[in-house]
Amino acid sequence: MTVPPEEVERIARLAHISLDPDSLQTLTREVGAILEYVAQLEHVEAADAEPFRPGPAKAPLRPDVVRPGGKPPLPAAPKFSDGLYLVPKVGRLDDTG
């Protein structure tokens, strides 16, 4: 299965990952090979399929009671000031991909 570099670039942009031209070329080749390999799932018969549910049949829940939370830890953020996460300005609305 060949995936065009434009598609890999689009997906990488959706995933918020920048790629230089060399990385894009390598990634295009490798992602194409991986998708070609997993494409054998196409032949899985979907009729009578039961959905898979991982984990315990019933998720245990803890009692819904208020408990002291202790002192909140210091944020590990690269930029944090006065209780606020500092980030660059939000770009154009059409800038997310």
Binding site: A15, S18, L41, E42, P51, P60, A77, P88, V90, D95
Partner: protein, 470 residues
């Protein structure tokens, strides 16, 4: 009787010696931190639990600790210090265990060779030109080198068992839900499980006893008591060992096959009855895994964006100003993630994207259900444990598979199905070829660790794991 301090001293010296030899199995290690824990354990008035009291353990660097940073082997979490520790780590410390060091791994546990670490590749303890397996390669190499007797790893698609097999030690992946994932940095949430790498089955069982059991901080952790394991079995009388045909293909490496045949013979002599069985959907395990795991990874790793944790890249990206939020995200994640992580995020984003979801993700979930039901049918049919090779080959050379991700993924062919089905599995050494270890894998029904570990312990005793095969 050795004190915890003396055990800490010994481990510190051995870790230093292993690292001086170029193993590169640790990401963080400070002998003073270890010795301090030894003094604290000795100073306690309450007795430590047998087997773990005074035990120094290496902890894979995707498991949160307060003594050291938790980097996941990634630049994006370089210098990240968790404000809390994993439940498994807290329980080990409460039982008298000590965090000896943080062990090196494939970045975010994605890999089968421990070559994908931002802090350099881990060397195989027998042959430095080879890989120790992955992703818990640092933990396995440290145990194999004798630096520590036990280590914590994580197993999403074989990442405890495969490096244990490559390094000639024991690797245990418990049932999904047996051990809390609280504090294990998420990769594939429906597959991830904290596991144990140890020098012996008994040591692995002792660690599992301590780290298992319900945890209100992880709702996927089963509501069951910590397991109490009695390794009292002397033989395998009455045990039915299933041999799935799909795990012994005609092109299986001949030496691996020979090692498995020897192990099966030894188990029969110990009283086991073997039965040929079939897991008809086994061939779908690797493609299924390499859709589901990247899909879950692409969602889990969305949180690393340069805002709340770790690194933020402030450079120019494609002419875009970095004072723009989306450009900062892309620059940070592009520079902070290594090639394998980027690859998996892109694959995961693709298989979840509109137009492809049904073809890949839905089909993978259907395949997962069938793979799981194959196991259930075999176990319901009277098989107590399944025996298979852990890996198709012994440890390969560093760099050999780096340019071919699909070939690397195929190395997980015998291990990833246990994660898809959530069942417990263990790798035990069953021989060597040219000095390189070979592992044999046992798998059991969900929450049947008691049986699994008892059979493994007998197998460990009746099969010489150091026997050189030709």
């Amino acid at each position: 009787m050795t004190t915890a301090y003396e055990a800490a001293q010994l481990a510190a010296a051995r870790i230093e010696a292993a690292e001086s030899s170029g193993l590169n199995a640790t990401i963080a290690f400070d002998p003073e931190v270890l010795l301090r824990q030894g003094r604290e354990v000795d100073a306690r008035t309450t007795p430590s639990r047998l087997g773990v009291g005074g035990l120094p353990l290496a902890v894979k660097d995707n498991i949160c600790t307060v003594e050291y940073d938790t980097t996941c082997g990634s630049r994006i979490l370089e210098n990240y210090r968790s404000p809390y520790e994993a439940t498994a780590v807290s329980r080990l410390k409460a039982a008298g265990g000590m965090v000896a060091c943080k062990s090196n791994l494939d970045e975010f546990a994605m890999g089968s060779s421990s070559e994908h670490s931002a802090f350099g590749r881990v060397r195989h303890p027998v042959d430095a030109e080879r890989v120790p397996g992955g992703s818990s390669g640092g933990s396995a190499a440290l145990v194999a080198a004798g630096a520590v007797d036990a280590a914590l790893g994580s197993d999403t698609g074989g990442s405890v068992r495969q490096p244990a097999a490559f390094c000639g030690v024991v690797g245990l992946k418990p049932t999904y839900g047996r051990v809390s994932r609280y504090g294990l940095i998420a990769f594939g949430s429906s597959l991830d499980q904290i596991g144990v790498i140890a020098a012996s089955v008994q040591q692995a069982a002792a660690v599992l006893e301590v780290i298992s059991g319900r945890d209100e901080r992880d709702s996927t952790c089963a509501d069951v008591d910590p397991i109490d394991i009695s390794l009292d079995r002397q033989d395998l009388d009455g045990i039915v060992v299933g041999l799935p045909a799909e795990y012994f293909p005609s092109d299986l490496d001949p030496v691996t096959r020979k090692a498995c045949d020897r192990a099966v013979d030894a188990m029969r002599r110990a009283g086991a009855v073997t039965r040929d069985v079939s897991l008809p959907h086994a061939r779908l395990a690797v493609p299924c895994y390499y859709v589901i795991a990247p899909a879950e990874a692409s969602a889990n790793l969305a949180r690393y964006d340069g805002v709340r944790y770790g690194a933020r890249v402030t450079g120019q990206e494609g002419g875009e100003g970095v004072d723009d939020l989306a450009a900062m995200y892309r620059a940070t994640r592009g520079a902070g993630f290594g090639a394998e992580v980027r690859r998996r995020i892109v694959v995961g984003t693709h298989v979840l994207s509109s137009g492809y979801y049904e073809a890949y993700y839905t089909k993978a979930q259907i395949a997962r259900g069938r793979i799981t039901r194959d196991f259930t049918a075999v176990f319901d049919g009277g098989v107590d444990v399944l025996f298979t090779p852990t890996t198709p080959t012994t440890a390969f050379k560093a760099g050999e598979l780096l340019g071919d991700p699909v070939a690397m993924y195929l190395g997980d062919v015998f291990v990833c199905a246990a994660n898809l089905a959530g069942i417990p599995a263990i790798s035990v050494p069953i021989g060597r070829a040219n000095g390189l270890p070979i592992g044999g894998q046992l798998m059991a029904p969900v929450f049947a660790e008691q049986t699994l570990l008892n059979v493994a312990q007998v197998m460990e005793r009746v099969v010489d794991g150091d026997h050189e095969l030709r």
